[in-house]
Symmetry: C2
Subunit: 188 residues, 2 copies
DNA sequence: CATACTATCTTTACACTGTCAAGATATAGA
DNA sequence: TCTATATCTTGACAGTGTAAAGATAGTATG
């Protein structure tokens, strides 16, 4: 199969066009027909390369994940110890998605909630469950007598929330809830 | 405006029907027309109560969040210290979504990725970035000389991943990246 | 070279979606 | 009783994913 068939390499072109649309217009604006039109091809042409819309989406995610993995790999290359590598991965992880925020929602979903994850009291009313955790966390800080600066308070809060959230995700999807030792969640 | 107008209380009925559809058929199967049909009402009737499909979705999320908050509140009621409350909230958080897994994806998005968050080597090939973290984490365990049981290994891994993931979400959505002290991510 | 074969792409069609506009209907208030 | 308003129905439209049938162009086989 040649490289300059009817279109050239439509499969790859569709993947790249889809990713470009997501970055420029957001995921909810992505449709098979629009991707096909971007490649100047009929609306049913993608079905020669992908069984589904889902299969194109999966191919797009694979492509993004390759870039993501490459960046992580680059980050740990120069780190000495494993602990350093973990920290470097954390930085690279966040850096990657900060430069391409649409990739984050594309890979992980909506996630709008986390915008409320700050300790300031302005967005207090936004997300009730998190408001509750904030209040309890302030109480915890008071009890433990620690006078942390605001930035560190935020980090502590995020650590708790994201740990629990990640565990809930794991437990929901895999059902391994009972194997988790909850005492491990404790602060510090 | 009476309580037994044409339909009774269509607004509430639509919200409940929508939630039921999500629990029984999944979110991707939810459509305005199907919700309307479930309430035995014409396909345009919801527009008397909701401007958008999005507005109905938001109302449904509010309803679920109310249940969620109530369960968290119940959990912390009997806890003595703030630290105990945080742990109780963590347990209640996970318990809530374990009993209604579709609520989790409904509120937080896809999240299928986290199914790979186990330390067993079977799903190793699933998600390359996470595979990388797993390898580095094993290396870290070896370096630190700790012989943790598998369950605790998983918890450590989840703590790191979910912390970084949660911080990436925060940084992407709010742009507060620079205020975070990364040294805090360290293990323990 | 001629033929058959296969991958690729187009055209047409269908059911389904969200949304809007115009009209019907029933309740509330004057 | 009359009017106004909220609620609901009907009908329409553009856009969606997808399947079927046909056209086209490359590849392989004789």
């Amino acid at each position: 199969m040649s490289d300059t068939y009817h279109h050239g390499n439509l499969r790859q072109a569709l993947i790249e066009a889809g990713i470009r649309i997501i970055n420029e217009q957001g995921e909810e604006q992505l449709s098979l027909r629009k991707v096909a039109a971007t490649c100047e091809v009929s609306h049913a042409a993608p079905y020669a390369h992908f069984k589904d819309k889902e299969e194109l989406l999966a191919a797009m995610q694979n492509s993004v994940n390759e870039q993501f993995t490459a960046q992580l790999q680059r980050a740990i290359a120069s780190a000495a110890s494993a602990e350093q590598k973990i920290l470097a991965m954390g930085r690279a992880y966040i850096s990657f998605f900060c430069h391409k925020p649409d990739y984050f929602t594309f890979l992980f979903g909506k996630q709008k909630l986390v915008a409320h994850l700050t300790m300031d009291e302005e967005h207090e009313e936004d997300y009730p469950p998190f408001k509750l955790l904030k209040a309890v966390f302030r109480q915890y800080l008071a009890e433990s007598g620690a006078a942390l600066p605001p930035a560190e308070q935020e980090v502590g809060l995020i650590k708790i929330w994201s740990s629990v959230h990640g565990m809930a995700a794991l437990a929901c999807m895999t059902g391994v809830e009972t194997t988790i030792d909850w005492e491990q969640i404790k602060l510090q």
